[in-house]
């Protein structure tokens, strides 16, 4: 029974070839959360990669001593907004996995606050993902995932887990939080992999 509401224009939409199907360009940075914003002090922050044979951890100072990349990339949220040319600083997952030995092919990202999301390991390596701690030249705001978030820009942005605290290697692909609740196990914006 839906009808057009007289005088309601909705959001203005800009089209651009760099936008995946069904996406709209935004200039602000919308905040989406599944819970309260965790307040994580960098003094207590720790990042851990856990494998079948052990684990490797970095505290904030150790993390800052790693090679840091400048990243300029487009980001695409499953709620239909995209931002073009966003700039970040962070540590490449290639750097973090340099000394990690694992036979497993799948990763579960874990966050402070309990959020999880799954990504295959080969989609995190070869310059495709970072743990980012700066956005637009400023330390990452807590509401955008600070002190540090995963940045996997070639997948929908829910895969770029805010407040990330570690990666757990898994022998098979298991769904994370949103992936258990309706969202696509993989999440490629160019294939519009939004839902199951």
């Amino acid at each position: 029974m839906s009808f057009i509401t007289r005088g309601f224009g909705g959001r203005s939409r800009e089209r651009d070839d760099r936008l995946p199907p069904g996406q709209t360009l935004v200039h602000d940075f919308p905040v989406l959360s599944a819970g309260p914003t965790p307040e994580v002090d960098t003094a207590e922050w720790e990042f851990t990669i856990r494998t079948e044979s052990g684990s490797q951890s970095w505290n904030w100072d150790e993390f800052m001593a790693l090679d840091i990349d400048e990243v300029s990339t487009d980001i695409h949220c499953v709620t239909h907004w995209s931002k073009l040319g966003t700039s970040w600083r962070g540590v490449s997952l290639d750097t973090l996995f340099e000394h990690v030995e694992t036979e497993y092919d799948y990763v579960m990202a874990h966050s402070y606050g309990g959020y999880t999301t799954n990504v295959p390991l080969d989609e995190l390596l070869d310059g495709k993902a970072w743990v980012a701690f700066e956005f637009d030249g400023e330390p990452l705001d807590p509401e955008h995932g600070g002190p540090a978030r995963l940045l996997v820009p070639h997948l929908y942005f829910w895969k770029s887990a805010k407040w990330v605290r570690g990666l757990e290697m898994m022998p098979s692909d298991e769904p994370g939080f949103w992936e258990q609740n309706g969202y696509h196990i993989h999440g490629d914006p160019w294939k519009e992999e939004r839902y199951w």
């Binding site: 029974m1 839906s2 009808f3 057009i4 509401t5 007289r6 005088g7 309601f8 224009g9 909705g10 959001r11 939409r13």
Partner: protein, 256 residues
Amino acid sequence: MSDTIDTTAGIRAVPRAGWHVGTVVAVHRETPNATRLELEVDGWPGNAPGQHLDVRLTAPDGYTASRSYSIASSGDSSRVVLAVDKLPDGEVSPFLVDEVRAGDKLELHGPLGAFFVWRPGGDHRPVQLIAGGSGVVPLYAIASARAEAGDETPFRLLYSVRTPDDVYFARELKALAGTSAPLRLDLVYTRRAPDGWPTPPGRITREALEAAVVPAAQHPLVYVCGSTGFVERVADWLVGFGHDARSIRTERYGGM
């Protein structure tokens, strides 16, 4: 399990929700920042005092936006009254406040929510209503329903509002305060008070709240509606005063 939950007051069958088309029959400037809309709603089953509805707007390209609004009216009538506050970055409220005129049709889903409801004719437990800003809308519906039913349950409304110009239903609330079983009305001004007002404007304090509400010893039912920050603060203080958390019902509308 039922022994620990107060399921007696308010939580009863309410009319079945559905999608309806409402025709705007009157638009009235409620405050400098808010509009009162009176709608004639085809097939509306009536609603209980305190319920809300969802308004859905559809753009020519198919984009839709939907928001919840408390209903200021109650009863069997197909007339539905809303009072909408314009949010600065809002998508739906600026349209409802600035754009909508008599004769427009709006898509409505409701009536909704059987929890934040009070009905006359119950056990006469005293009722304390606490409103922050536009949070007064469902509480006004509740207070009006009591007066219309001639119910004499002791009622008190504490209403925190920015300035005297921002008071919703100013004339109607004054009338409710002057009936034979009056609604006791306490106003708190947060930005500007009328000339000669006994207290300077400011956010309500814990002490002022305690002095202005039905004491916990009288076991009132308490309804709190306002921004999330306001409701959190008030509800925490009430529990601190000894009010049973189960007797406090809240409706947060977001914001800070």
